[in-house]
Symmetry: D2
Subunit: 315 residues, 4 copies
């Protein structure tokens, strides 16, 4: 076992840092663990042990900067640098500390058009419940008490870009393809893909769309009852919900889509779904059943799924 | 304790009796307990003990005929006849057997414009799990395994009719007003009311609309997890869903709205909500928070709530 | 509708009033709404609207004083006084204020050997969530956030006393018999009975045992997930649990039995169970399946069900 | 990613193959996918894709034969053979087909005293829901509908053997140590360990006991509600339950322990627990909080946890 372990952090620009802070701290239940003089805040969830999983930068646009994945060993940085460059993609290594609290970082633009960072070290903080005789959840917690950042769905310009990105993450970073939506002649095009390094259904996903950006990122919750509780909390706090509690056909996940104060779409994703494994047969959703895959109950388009997303900040 | 106990049965016209039968039997999980030569079928849920709670009549229109409530004692028929007539509403007593499997029936048109029947006796069948050392639920069951018919929401022509109907059911049939939506100048008009005889939040409800008809009737389910399972079963069987799993602010109920093959709106309503009591303060929803009351999570109109309903059959 | 509505309050003696206060307030989530100079505290749950549902008196013994039920109308006091005395039981009417915050009280000893109080008025406080556009649950709440006191199970000396008490509550106070455990020759003896005035499975229950006392009283929770959360909270606070999360066959309720700091057994009871109605066939559990009725999963005796209970204080 | 992926199958002797078949098929919901002339049956769960995960052999003793884990690549067999032998443990390679439906198998006795098999290939069957537009669960399913075999807890003779086994699986097979119970002077002895290759809390666990054997193996269920449903089904079928629905402190899993007709202890384990990762800090349970770790709600010994287990068949 080596290479990419899981999503490490997201780096986003937000419009109103004060409103964002209140939202992520008091409604989502995250903690601010670092704050820079430019107003940038770093947050972690109670069930995460590294220093942060979310970077929010004060800005006049609500955009996506980059996503970072954590790799198992520092030597993975070198191994993956070689593999990525051999694949024809240029990379850069940032020195320790260039990304706050992190060791050296391997930076590159994936074929999807998004900046990815890989790192092996981040300042350790520990879970809120500790690691000696821990409680199963923090009795003192705020709001939705999200567990961890689970995955991100990135938007690429058209199915070809989805396919290029998927191929790259499968071949070079050894992600496994859990599910795919196949469209076009004889289902020859991947309109969306779900990729895993952990044994959950996805740590990273791609979807075809008009622009390069982020469709949403997701927080993990235990199960369907936490979804109800989360939706209740959202209702109490007037959170703008895109799609109310729902079953995904894809991943089997239980979900809510909603927006943060800047308009970034978030998800609470609940349940293991299934045990993802390298030898699990990839699940394919056909063009006819695409919406059944996305929203299992109605099988129909819902909310702003295809029209609202976060643009990438960099050109 | 005497007078109205609970909803007894609904009497509806359906377009395709075969499709309806399959739907209510295999997806909802009801049993056909009687069938007339004209094709009318009578159905009951596993947790009900009387012969039937739903009458479906083959027709070329999908309309509402009437709703029946069961009273505790046969003498209640006479007492309530006197009270209703004293209120200025004419009534009729149908002899035993006029409504199949039922004792004599008190028939009248409520101020809402709907025909109501009251009866004290119906052929006893028993719950599917029996009454000696019963299982908590039937291991052999079909589909959603609905427990019982819980309530009906009737549509009246405008708030005045809602108010007239509510007054009548409070004063004459001694229903208690659990919740109300108040609109108009200083909240002077009841746009919708929820009325109870049991200690659940409602056995009967009224809503203002353009026509006299039925907005929906509801099946009871235990809780939020049964709601997910029900929605999954609906997805598997391509049931047309109006509103996916949701929390009502009003009644606190967990809900799905969906349609039967004729277009009648149904609900699966889960949870006790709260213990309704005669002395519980009536909950009031203001015009501004009306949609928060109906769909707590978004606080916004959703589905075809205000546009789709079942017309009354009789003129 | 008139007569008994529901359980109104329990009056108990506790050993350590400070520990009890902390327990009921911070772990159960009740509020202290009144405190007398002798140290007696009065508590209510968030979903109750009357001033209190629990009286805890500092004492050197942990005993049961009495239980009070609320009736619908003040005139019920007189009607029920007449009925009870006609049944051969002497009664007393306490003037308004004799029981703090209550109107006049009808006091009598039931055939079970327990003191019962009936009252029609208690100072109104309102639910924590209010009655205008209320939230479905209080975002700011403590611990288990119990909804209301749901029922009490009283212990009588032997089946004959259970039968006498049951007959009295059925005939005089018009409770309905939801379930019974029948033992002895041909099942001729009621070893336990569950009686309802609301449409929940029980508002009062009796069980045969060696002494006159209280087996437990129960708090209502919504459902099985609240049971898990409650048990987690108990584990976090080292609450002494008698019986871990479980399904009752009787009532179908989801349950935990546990003890307060004085050793009074409490229950968190979840779910509606079923819609109790006067015409619902009484469920009978046979002697062979008695433990299946009590603990459905194992069908076996568990915890201290038959050996631990609260003695009555008065002789 | 390479090496061990997950538990592949368990190989057990059972006393009454007919009763076992009925139990695993109709109550657990598995399918018999192969049957040998000697009466041995092979079973799979609906959510597994390989031919079988359980081998039951007719016998006059209820014993444990071996457990097999699936590795990712056929070349892992050779790599791991070399590593295991370098560690000082002798191995054997069985040719393809020696274990029915499997490719070649690497066989060895672990320091725990148990026979382990590693294989890379097994006949593919597919999930019951297929892999094109799949339903989230099989509408037609039986009983508890277990998803997959999740893990096994093996019993070793004393903490030293637990420590030896743990060291071997960490160092040679690259399992990660999720949790441990530390006893003895300064917590110097591992009395139990939980080891993972997937990102669930455990794929393999060891516990100290008097004999070499199997404490239990576990089926996966989605969550706490499936636990209730499973326990209800067990109650309906008179399954012997060891420990009713419960939260583990260790792994946070929601659980039931129960026995199959031969007396093998099984578990239904629900929930992801947490995202296990190589860099997650190992959770340590101290001797004082050992039972809080095992049964979080009571923090006390329960059932036959320390006294009932399955002996190993081979000497």
């Amino acid at each position: 076992m080596s290479g990419v372990m899981r999503i490490g952090h997201l780096d986003l620009n937000v419009l109103d840092i004060k409103a964002s802070r209140n939202y992520y701290v008091n409604i989502m239940g995250m903690d601010v663990t670092r704050e820079d003089s430019d107003g940038t805040i770093y947050l972690k969830c109670w069930d995460e042990w590294d220093k942060y999983s979310l970077i929010l930068r004060p800005s006049d646009e609500a955009t996506f900067n980059r996503v970072a994945y954590k790799v198992e060993k520092d030597s993975d940085i070198d191994d993956l640098k070689a593999k990525i460059e051999a694949y024809g993609i240029s990379t850069e290594i940032l020195p320790e500390g260039a990304i706050p609290e992190c060791g050296r970082v391997l930076k590159f633009d994936a074929p999807s058009g998004h900046e990815f960072n890989l790192y092996a070290k981040k300042t350790f903080v520990g879970k809120d419940v500790g690691s000696t005789n821990p409680r199963p959840w923090p009795f003192e917690g705020r709001g939705i008490k999200v567990h961890w950042i689970d995955h991100v769905l990135l938007m690429c310009q058209g199915p070809e870009k989805v396919m290029e990105a998927t191929k790259f993450f499968q071949e070079v970073l050894e992600f496994n393809l859990a599910e795919q939506v196949c469209v076009g002649p004889n289902g020859s095009l991947q309109a969306a893909t779900w990729l895993a390094r952990t044994s959950t259904p996805h740590d990273l996903a791609f979807v075809a769309g008009p622009e390069v950006g982020m469709h949403h990122f997701a927080f993990f919750l235990d199960g369907w009852n936490d979804i109800l509780r989360a939706a209740d909390v959202m209702g109490m706090h007037n959170v703008k919900i895109d799609v109310t509690p729902q079953r995904h056909g894809i991943t089997r996940g239980e979900t809510i889509y909603f927006f943060d104060p800047s308009g970034h779409r978030l998800e609470t994703f609940a349940g293991l779904g299934y045990l993802m494994q390298p030898d699990m047969p990839t699940v394919t959703w056909t063009e006819e059943e695409l919406w059944r895959g996305i929203f299992y109950h109605t099988g129909q388009e819902n909310g702003a799924f295809t029209t609202a997303y976060t643009l990438s900040a960099y050109k």
